[in-house]
């Protein structure tokens, strides 16, 4: 694989890393009070999608044949959990849907590791109906357990069991861009490094290999898919139109949904890559119909924009589209990490997205 693809792939796959400080357990005490009350018109949660299947080995009968009967039964898989809140002052703002990256949950967008306001509350306070979706196969969306107990009970070869991916501190140091080497942060690092343990607590097992045989192809080939691509798109359609925001692992999901012909996607925001450099004319024409914003942070060791973003942007904009690439340092924001929704200047970064939504989505004429 070419070096730039390799770097982009790793950057898109990854998370996490930094100096390993003691667990402070000060997270509750760290919470900052809100500036003024948050007035909600509505709050709640629901699921999108999901399909029924028979799970052949649910674990209970092996646990106690005396208490539990059949080892099999019907379950739901591939559903996507969504939490939302609508501010009382929503006006006519477009709904915004946030989907987290690899090995993380919707916690990504909530209170930061050092107790400041996250994007979930901030976008709501700015008047946007705000939706946090949890990737199908992660956290409250559950995952498909077929194959695990079968291996455990000797019914299938161990090699058939999907790998359970777990991001570690050391794993991603260079890609997460906390500093030049593990344990050393950039002097201008915007991530709250003194509370990095609180970020590590957000890191949870990633079961995406139960959904796709080739994770790496997901990052280079826009025709590949996982259930979240469809459930994100379904949510946009159900909402009567929405801006879809993906980060890292999910940064390319909204583009994939558009290329599948899904309606209702009024804007695409790709945080930290998500570009595809080799699109055919039909794909380019489809993407030219939806405003696209790519935002990346600081301290990349490679030139920005990445080659695949340059290629996609040139093709889409030549076809009459509206694709924008923003490297935060070009706006004067220095030191942002891969997790800039949690960096010290996270609300300043949010304002970049909000300005783009207003100008490129809400004032769009068509």
């Amino acid at each position: 694989m070419a070096d730039h693809v390799k770097i982009a792939t790793v950057a898109a796959l990854v998370l996490i890393a930094t100096s390993w400080t003691p667990v402070s357990a000060q997270s509750l005490a760290d919470l900052k009070p809100a500036p003024e009350p948050l007035v909600l018109q509505q709050q709640g949660s629901f699921f999108v999608g999901g399909r029924k299947m028979t799970n052949p080995r649910t674990g209970w009968s092996e646990l106690s044949p005396d208490l539990f009967g059949s080892p099999q039964g019907d379950v739901m898989v591939d559903q996507m959990y969504v939490q939302f809140q609508k501010p009382a002052n929503a006006g006519n703002h477009v709904p915004v849907v946030f989907v987290h990256g690899c090995c993380l949950s919707a916690k990504t967008w909530e209170t930061t590791p050092d107790g400041r306001m996250g994007w979930y509350e901030y976008f709501t306070r700015k008047g946007y109906p705000t939706y946090l979706a949890e990737q199908s196969g992660r956290a409250r969306s559950g995952f498909n357990t077929v194959g695990f107990n079968e291996v455990r009970d000797g019914l299938k070869p161990p090699s058939t069991q999907p790998l359970v991916l777990m991001a570690t501190a050391q794993f991603a140091w260079p890609i997460f861009r906390f500093g030049p080497k593990f344990g050393e942060a950039w002097p201008d690092q915007q991530f709250p490094m003194d509370k990095v343990d609180e970020l590590y607590k957000q890191v949870i097992p990633d079961l995406i290999l139960t959904q796709t045989p080739d994770l790496l192809a997901q990052f280079s080939d826009p025709r590949t898919s996982v259930p979240t691509v469809d459930t994100m798109a379904q949510l946009a359609e159900d909402l009567g139109g929405a801006v879809l925001v993906g980060h890292s692992q999910s940064s390319g999901f909204p583009t994939k949904a558009v290329l599948k012909g899904r309606p209702g996607i009024r804007g695409i925001i790709q945080l930290e890559t998500g570009c595809y450099g080799n699109l055919d004319a039909e794909q380019v024409a489809a993407l030219a119909k939806v405003p696209i914003l790519v935002v990346v942070g600081d301290h990349f060791s490679t030139p920005q924009p990445p080659p695949e973003c340059v290629k996609e942007m040139e093709a889409v904009n030549k076809a009459g589209g509206d694709m924008t690439f923003i490297a935060l340092p070009d706006l004067g924001m220095k030191g942002n990490s891969h997790m800039f929704m949690q960096d010290r200047n996270n609300l300043q970064v949010a304002d970049v997205l909000i300005k783009w939504i207003e100008e490129h989505v809400e004032r769009r004429k068509n």
Copy 2:
């Protein structure tokens, strides 16, 4: 095991089941508007607890030796995710912490399967600072993946891998008490059976067997423990006092925390069992210092209260304690299921808890 213990154990372990209707995907459309704006003083999320460990096989290097280096690295396990909201009208109400049961997440307390207000919003509207905790090892709290990839890669015998528990529709019909037999609901059933598929989407893999070798002992022996017992207790202490609410699998957790000498637990609410019949004098004395409420629904095939609740209540109250057992039918509420926080009369049931908190916790003299 004695029949009543067996029934209580199954009732405490279980969830889910009912007639298997088509997936409607109408969950967003089903959302009911709120009666009036919800005004929050503060909202957010954080973690309690967590410990660092080295994960020997995180899956990445097997996925691509070319891209990723060492198979091992440092991760966090046993942390507990908590979301919360404080109403602007909180006054002096005691914080209330809700912990879900087996195979479910904190979604349990949010919007009901048919789109009505859940207890999270209702308790907040009633003036309580309200906290939803996700059991360590579930959903946003992650789980300890050690052992899975080792088996997959042939480094450990398959039989060493923890069972992944998955509740099915058929599994729990009689215990979940939707009706007399699978596919048939009680005529007075309070659960919104037309939206039961939305409940099935809440059911996610339960990894508690990564935390304890003997799940069944957890229900009969109050000295057993899992990490959530300590993280719940820590949250109560960090909050400067809280009422802890457990349901089903977690119904006995607050009692276990008190028996471990944990401070800050101002009240225990056990939804659907959580009693221990064989307590020694020291344990009884400890429990006599904390008000305890047990609430169960309808359609049990066995007499209520269960024998272990009768024994615990008699012992605790004789020692000067304040333990109350409420079977909802005795208050005139008929047809409530195991998931009465989602039943059609869920807010009426919530009022039973709120009245008890006011009378037994907030007006308590000591």
